[in-house]
């Protein structure tokens, strides 16, 4: 197909190459340098989508990231992406795009044809409909239909095939925006030794200067850009980032940038990320972010063929596209005259330039040029309404004071309601704004210490003043910079003040005058919201959805708040703006996690003996970040069957489990015992050298924090173990106490969790296995329960030093052997070999858990769940009366000592039933709901040694309920099981086995 609206010369496009693309199934062609929007316009495609709520035909409205209408679905299989702005999508060969929000086709849409949407969807529709107290069943039925009708594009249904990466950067000066002011700022600061980053969202740096016929230092716009970019590129201290949008400004001058690395390529190369998320710390930031043009609310101002005047100019000058054949320009300011001149030069007929200002106020340079060119200017006039169905065919114009309307045929309406500095990022950086009556726009009140706005973003709309402002902002970053070039020079244009015109009354009752094209918010909606009391701009936004679409109201918010001000007889200053929040433009979700997805979300920690476990066919389980053996299934066994065999073998013979994940903290110094006395509930100054002790720590509020054992290795040298999950937390707790609260204590601590690997050897034959490999006597007399000693372990690699502890988690005769991590496997294999004759089997976490449930040992995170006290867990007797400790002052508050506290008990399932997962405990199954909950099951298992299902539970007044029969119920598992309450310890309550 030919590009009927492409001009034969001019523009920043490469006519020597043609790019084929498809829109709604039709093939078209464009050129490198095009966006999807410019290529569609070149092919005469003006109707590109249907609106969000009313499904009205919509065309391309803008030429940049502020586009509210031309959102398309890019279709590339798993790479399909909804709500992509056609105006910022670079054209590539083979691009496939489709319009959105229509069914069955763009031209014939059921939603629009039925006409029901308009009547059904007034302002505050969702609030009125779905939040009414007596929401009728009819509405419930229609909700599905309405939600289907009001929607945007479709999310991809497959996993994202692309890779995204993160990049951290630091610089002295970050320039956001590479238009006239941004380039001037970077050029002024370059060569001063500052590290500079300049980012620009366009494929080509330069902003609106690209293709512009202005003259800077005697060069055309594009020539000046190229010359400046050459200078900056040659400077090793300057990083230029095109296709990069700064989308968020955060505390400490940190900005988030998204760089689109391969989105513009037909076939992305391998090993290159699709997008790169930059986190830039800048000493200073210059926001040269330009300005957004806004529309004027007149009736049917949304017809395809209606666009912003500046956009029309960009399509002509940058893309060499005529966006229409016969244009009407509607303005309240000077800038639209530049568009009119550009259109005229491109051969587009100018039917009228409708200027709301009086003849005497239209005095600017550009207007004079238009007049000199013989363009028909109609002063003191407005457009009252548009005509046409799927595109504009005419407009009615009338004197602003009222009076006769006159119809003017046209296929293009170029509107300019004024310009808003793009202060989103400046405002996010906490820059304050002020309303400028002359410019009819919000501008920065004053620069911040390290953040300034420059150029159009600073209200300097003319090219000459924007260049000067940018240059000054760049020098502001360097201080006196002797090497800085002279400021770039452009001809100063004389401007005339704009007129604050926001809307034109609708000639037809019910005629729609759109404020926010993306969310289908009309001037009437804003008036209605104001009448209903939504007079705060933040309320108005949420009630009408003004500015809540993907464009965040870039072309509409100012218009909306001006109309709210009018409707409530307030000034624009009194109404104020809504809060600007990141992101400035939509960011692909995949960019936020970057590489941190799947297995890379967090680190994986492997045990020193991991390979041995894997070689033995262990099934692994995640324990925090660790991979731990769950059990070691033999041929034909499930992991659960293996765990039962292992648990049984520990009580019958001997087993060995890898306990290296326990947190290990070494403590040295004169005051360690005093520290331990203060952090544990029990007493430590009585612990002799060569002995271990179990301890419980509380939080300041008296709730259990952690438990573990601490051993006295030498007079002033201790080793503390913590639970696997709390290793980090306990270390931090101790560091804080020693550094902040009690610096006078002489205690030095170090985490040695990863330096030592540990095995627990448990079972009646553990001593025989151990004695075969160690060089000390481990008899009950010489090495009794809770003894500590140092020894040598004989291994195939020679003797290795070890720390030996006699402590038991399983309730059996048991030892823990700690060796330096890299010697772990040698120690482990030596014990396995020595255990062959004694029936030694390795066991995993599941058997370990079964053994400790049988023994009634608590786990922090299950029984100690952040609400339980030491007394709840049956350890009240551990609290030493002879000393103070953390948590003790608040441990005995009334609520923590009530008789109906949930206390630790053991449960045995009756009737041969399986203990349900996470069951709650009730007394009477037949009670009306909600059935009072007496407690809940915290840990449960099949006990191969007791041959029944057992559990630990927290039960109201549990210690007084031993012997009672209650119910463990799980509505989720649909299970109801009779349970008998008893003490938590099921095996060897006297502790004869572990002391034997």
């Amino acid at each position: 197909m030919t590009q009927r609206f492409r001009m034969s010369a001019g523009g920043a496009i490469d006519r020597s190459r043609r790019l084929a693309f498809e829109f709604d199934g039709m093939p078209y062609q464009g050129h490198p340098g095009d966006t999807l929007a410019s290529a569609l316009l070149a092919n005469g495609v003006r109707f590109v989508g249907r609106s969000f709520k009313y499904h009205r035909p919509r065309g391309i409205f803008a030429a940049g990231s502020e586009e509210p209408n031309a959102l398309v679905q890019l279709a590339r299989g798993a790479r399909t992406e909804p709500n992509v702005r056609a105006t910022t999508t670079e054209l590539y060969d083979g691009l496939i795009a489709a319009s959105q929000n229509r069914w069955p086709s763009l031209a014939f849409d059921v939603g629009a044809a039925s006409g029901m949407l308009s009547r059904l969807l007034p302002a505050g529709f969702y609030y009125k409909t779905f939040m009414w107290p007596a929401m009728s069943t009819a509405w419930l039925k229609y909700e599905r239909v309405i939600r289907a009708a009001a929607g945007m594009g479709r999310a991809p249904g497959e996993p994202d095939p692309d890779r995204y990466e993160h990049q951290y950067a630091h610089c002295d000066l970050l320039v956001v925006g590479g238009g006239a002011a941004g380039l001037a700022a970077a050029r002024a600061a370059a060569d001063s030794g500052l590290r500079i980053i300049l980012c620009d969202e366009g494929a080509r740096v330069g902003g609106t200067l690209v293709g512009d016929d202005v003259s800077i230092d005697g060069l055309l716009g594009s020539e000046w850009i190229d010359a400046t970019v050459r200078i900056l590129s040659a400077n090793p201290d300057v990083v230029l980032l095109p296709r990069t949008t700064a989308f968020g400004s955060y505390d400490g001058n940190m900005l988030a940038l998204i760089e689109r690395v391969t989105d513009h390529l037909a076939a992305p190369p391998p090993y290159v990320p699709r997008q790169r998320l930059w986190k830039v710390r800048a000493r200073r930031v210059v926001f040269a972010t330009g300005a957004h043009e806004r529309g004027i609310a007149y009736q049917d101002n949304d017809l395809p063929g209606t666009m912003l005047a500046g956009a029309a100019r960009t399509y002509v000058q940058r893309y060499a596209v005529r966006p229409g054949s016969r244009a009407v320009v509607f303005t309240n300011n000077d800038s639209a005259y530049a568009a009119a001149l550009a259109l005229n030069a491109a051969g587009v007929a100018l039917a009228a330039i409708v200027d709301a200002r009086g003849q005497g106020e239209i005095t600017g340079t550009l207007a004079r040029r238009a007049r000199d060119a013989g363009l028909p200017i109609v002063a003191h006039a407005v457009i009252c309404c548009g005509h046409g169905r799927k595109r504009v065919s005419a407009v009615d114009i009338a004197p602003i004071a009222g009076g006769g309307r006159r119809r003017v045929d046209c296929d293009l309406v170029c509107v300019s309601g004024g310009w808003n500095p793009a202060l989103h990022l400046f405002s996010q950086a906490r820059g304050a704004l002020r309303y400028d009556d002359t410019l009819t726009a919000f501008v920065p009140r004053s620069p911040l210490s390290h953040v300034v706005a420059a150029g159009a973003a600073n209200g300097r709309f003319g090219l000459a003043e924007a260049l000067a402002d940018g240059h000054a902002a760049g020098l502001g970053a360097t201080g006196p910079n002797l090497s800085a070039a002279a400021p770039p020079h452009a001809e100063m244009e004389v401007g005339a003040a704009p007129l604050a015109l926001w809307s034109v009354p609708a000639p037809r009752r019910g005629g729609k005058r759109f404020v926010d094209l993306q969310d289908d918010v009309t001037a009437e909606d804003i008036a209605l919201a104001a009448r209903e009391g939504y007079t705060s701009v933040e309320h108005l936004k949420r009630y009408t959805t003004l500015g809540m679409g993907p464009d965040q109201g870039k072309t509409s918010n100012m218009l909306g708040l001006a109309l709210l001000a009018q409707a409530t007889d307030r000034s624009i200053v009194q109404v104020g703006t809504t809060t600007f929040r990141p992101p400035y433009t939509p960011v692909t979700l995949g960019a936020f996690p970057g590489d941190e997805r799947g297995a890379h979300v967090e680190p994986t920690r492997y045990l020193a003996m991991h390979d041995w476990h894997a070689e033995q066919g262990a099934s692994f389980v995640n324990a925090g970040l660790w991979k731990r053996p769950y059990s070691y299934p033999r041929v034909g066994e499930t992991p659960e069957q293996a765990a039962n065999r292992e648990a049984k073998n520990v009580r019958a013979n001997v087993g060995m489990v890898d306990v290296s994940t326990l947190g290990k903290i070494e403590l040295q110094g004169r005051d360690v015992a005093e520290l331990l006395n203060r952090v544990y509930i029990n007493r430590w100054d009585t612990l002799p050298v060569g002995r271990c002790r179990y301890g419980v720590m509380l939080r300041e509020d008296g709730i259990v924090l952690d438990d573990g054992t601490t051993s006295r290795l030498d007079a002033n040298h201790y080793l503390m173990t913590t639970t696997t999950v709390n290793a980090v937390k306990v270390m931090q707790h101790l560091e804080r106490l020693l550094q902040v609260d009690w610096p006078e204590l002489e205690v030095y601590i170090a985490s040695v969790t990863e330096q030592w690997t540990a095995a627990a050897l448990a079972g009646p034959r553990a001593r025989q296995v151990l004695q075969a490999v160690v060089d000390i006597d481990v008899s009950n007399e010489d090495f009794p329960f809770l003894a500590f000693g140092e020894c040598q372990v004989r291994t195939a690699q020679g003797a290795i030093p070890a720390r030996l502890f006699r402590m038991s988690y399983s309730g059996e005769l048991a030892y823990e052997i700690h060796v330096p991590a890299d010697l772990g496997r040698a120690m482990w294999e030596a014990l396995i070999a020595a255990g062959e004759d004694f029936g030694l089997m390795p066991y995993g976490t599941e058997a370990m858990s079964t053994l400790r449930i049988e023994k009634g040992h608590v786990v922090v995170g299950a029984e100690a769940d952040g609400r339980t006290t030491a007394d709840d867990l049956g350890m009240g007797k551990l609290v030493s009366a002879a000393k103070w400790c953390i948590g003790k002052p608040l441990m005995n508050r009334p609520a923590l000592t009530a008789v109906d506290r949930w206390q630790l008990v053991g449960l045995t399932a009756l009737d041969g039933a399986v203990m349900p997962r996470a069951a709650k405990i009730v007394a009477d199954l037949d009670r009306a709901l909600p059935n009072p909950m007496l407690g809940h099951v915290t840990s449960w298992c099949w006990s191969p040694n007791l041959e029944s299902w057992i559990a630990l539970a927290l039960l109201a007044g549990g210690r007084t309920r031993h012997g009672e029969i209650l119910w463990a119920v799980s509505p989720l598992a649909d299970a109801k099981v009779r349970v008998r309450v008893g003490p938590p310890c099921f095996i060897d309550p006297e502790g004869e086995r572990l002391r034997g």
């Binding site: 955060y250 400490g252 906490r430 509020d701 931090q732 560091e735 902040v740 006078e744 002489e746």
Partner: protein
């Protein structure tokens, strides 16, 4: 994201730190009343302006710092070691 000046490591990003709450609280004496302990453990001021708070450089030197932060602007006004002397230095 805050940029917190660590007296030992220099200015570092907030993600390297762990927040530790109000730095002005004084641990009550061991024989203080329960009311004093409730005050210490649970009750906090919420000033608009300078707030003295503890941060640990947990992904760095592990030192606890006293930081003064303006709660209105997030500006870091000052940072210093939690205690001037390291443990044991006095001996």
């Amino acid at each position: 994201m805050l940029l917190i000046p660590c007296p030992w490591c220099g200015a570092r990003a907030q993600i390297e730190f762990t927040y530790g709450g109000d730095a002005t609280l004084q641990r009550p004496a061991v024989d203080a009343t329960e009311t004093d302990w409730v005050q210490y453990v649970f009750l906090r001021d919420n000033p608009a302006g300078a707030h003295q708070e503890l941060w640990q450089h947990s992904a760095g030197c592990r030192q606890w710092l006293r930081v003064s932060r303006d709660t209105r602007t997030h500006e870091i006004l000052e940072s210093a070691p939690a205690v001037e002397a390291s443990p044991g230095d006095a001996r």
